[in-house]
Every structure is written in C-alpha cells, then in structure tokens.
Amino acid sequence: MEKPNLIYINQLARGDNSIKNELINIIKTEFPEEKKYYFESLQQNNFKKIAENVHRLKHKISILGLSNSYKIAKEFEHNLREQSLERKQDFEKILIAITHYIETL
C-alpha cells in the first residue's frame, strides 16, 4: 500500500517552515474530526452524510499524496451516492494508514 507523504505540502510551503507547520497542524486537527464524523454518519446509516464526510476526507487523502487511495475514496463516494457500501473496507484501511502517519508528524 502506498504511504502518505508531505510532497504536496512541501511544494506549497516552498521552504517556509511556518506555512508547512501550519498546514500540518490543520491536518492533525481536522483529519481526526472528519474521521469521527465519518464513523458517526456510518453508525446512523445516513448515506448522504457518509458521502459528504468521505468527500471531505478525500481532499486530505490527495493532500497526503495518496493517488491510488484517492481513486478508492472517489469510488466509495460514488457508491455511497448509489446507497452502496462497496469499498468501505478499503477506504477504512486508508484512514488507518493516515492516522498512523499523522502520529509521526
């Protein structure tokens, strides 16, 4: 499985550590919240909300350079809009990988 990375964030920051740290801090705050909302919407079986949460998480996935995972998230979001949970497990593996990675930042 591909590994999250900071290539995109480094490109944005262009050597400015304050920008880099600000963006990393936002990910560290925002990602766990979005993940929590995702699991809450899953418990409520609210497909519309689940899709919205996956949509937001999808952006974090792309920011962390996970291009294959992004495709999985996109497919999952599409399936959710069709009331299907197909690719849920794959998507949740991505969330685990990002969670572990964020702990190292």
């Binding site: 995109y8 490109q11 944005l12 920051a13 920008i19 600000e22 963006l23 936002i26 990910i27 705050t29 925002e30 919205e52 949509h55 937001r56 999808k58 952006h59 974090k60 792309s62 920011i63």
Partner: protein, 237 residues
Amino acid sequence: MNCIIIDDEKMARSILKTLCNEIKLLTVIGEYSNAIEAIKFLNDNKVDLIFLDIHMPDFNGFDFVETLKYKTKVVLITSDDQLAIKAFKYLNIVDYLLKPLSLDSLEKSIEKIKMLDVDSNTGSKTLEKKKNHVSDYIFVNINHRLIRLTINEINIIKSDKNYILITTDTETHKVNISLKKIQQRLPLKSFFRVHKSYIVNLNKIVDIEDRTIVIQKNVVPIGNKYWMNLKNRLNLI
C-alpha cells in the same frame, strides 16, 4: 483584485490563502466556512472574486451563486470533476479548479480572469458569447485542471497508449481518455475517424495525397478501412 474564500474545510482555505499570497494581483479580504457569513459580508462589501467550494454541508455552491445580488466573478474549487458543464451555465462562474490546487492552475485561472476583464473593458460581450456558444466547447481534464477547448479550433486527435493528443492551431494537449470516448463528444459533421489512431477535423484539411491528410504542417495517415468512408464524406467533384 479583492477576493474571498468560502470553503467549510480549514485546510482548503489555508491552501488557497497560501497560493493567493503568491499572486501579487490577489488580496484575500475574507474567508468563510459557511454561506450565511459570506452573504452577510457581501451585502456590505464589494469583492472582485469569490473562490467557492461546491460541496459543503447544508448548502450547495450553485445555490449560493444564485443568491448573489451582484454578479461577482466566481471560481469554483472542488474535488468533484463531474459538474463542469453545469458550472459554465452560470455566467459569473469563470473557472472551475480541481483540488488539490496548484500554484500553476491558480495562476492560469487569474490570467483567464484578467483576459475576461480586458474583453469587457473594451466593450466585448464575452460573457454573452460564452452563454450563447456553450455547446461549442468541450472540457478536458489536464493535470487536475478542467481546460475548455473550442471545438472548431481542434485540428487532429491522435491516440497515444492510454492517452490522446489533441492538437489545435497553437498547442497540443495530452488527455487521459480514449479516442472512442472523445469521438462521442465531438460533432459528427466535422470530426471523422480516418485511421485507428487518428480523428481529424474535416474543416481543417488542406489537402489529401497518397492516402495522407495534411492539416497545417501535420501529416495524418488514412487507414485502408477508413478510406472509402472518408471519400463518401468529402465533397468530391
């Protein structure tokens, strides 16, 4: 150019602000995580440009655009690549950028807006033209940016493994789509498959010789199985 950012994700707003800071012409004068706050601000302040996310909880970017009293220019910023056609039905939506954003895509977008401004200052009815000729364009996804191509400016389309190369008078774009799919999106009266790897714009053919077509300085082979059909399509005397 004063602008505001509307996106429920703090990360998206911060990235956009970082990129806007790299562009001298842009000054970010506000950022909003929801539409209501933004509308309040817009009621009292004039802005030149709004960067707007489409999918946000409880409201949709298109609904927001419809509520705007003044037709401020809007650039949509989204992870959803399926709404470009809908977006360009709104006269004031001037561009559609896909997340994750890059400085390059933002700079190009601002260049495009500057060009629109020049046109409107010189009395051109660019936006009206855009409305009237929306079907004359196709949108292609190039490096996370949806580029609008004017159909009658396309000369040749060549397949290249999983990609196609679209050649216009001035440039060539590499797009991840099959030849068959792009053909379905082009007008049959102008575009014709002349080879398993080539589609040409019939209006651009300069001459045909020895089963090859010349368009500008490019030479396109005509496949055996396409030759008869092509002859039938051309106005041969």
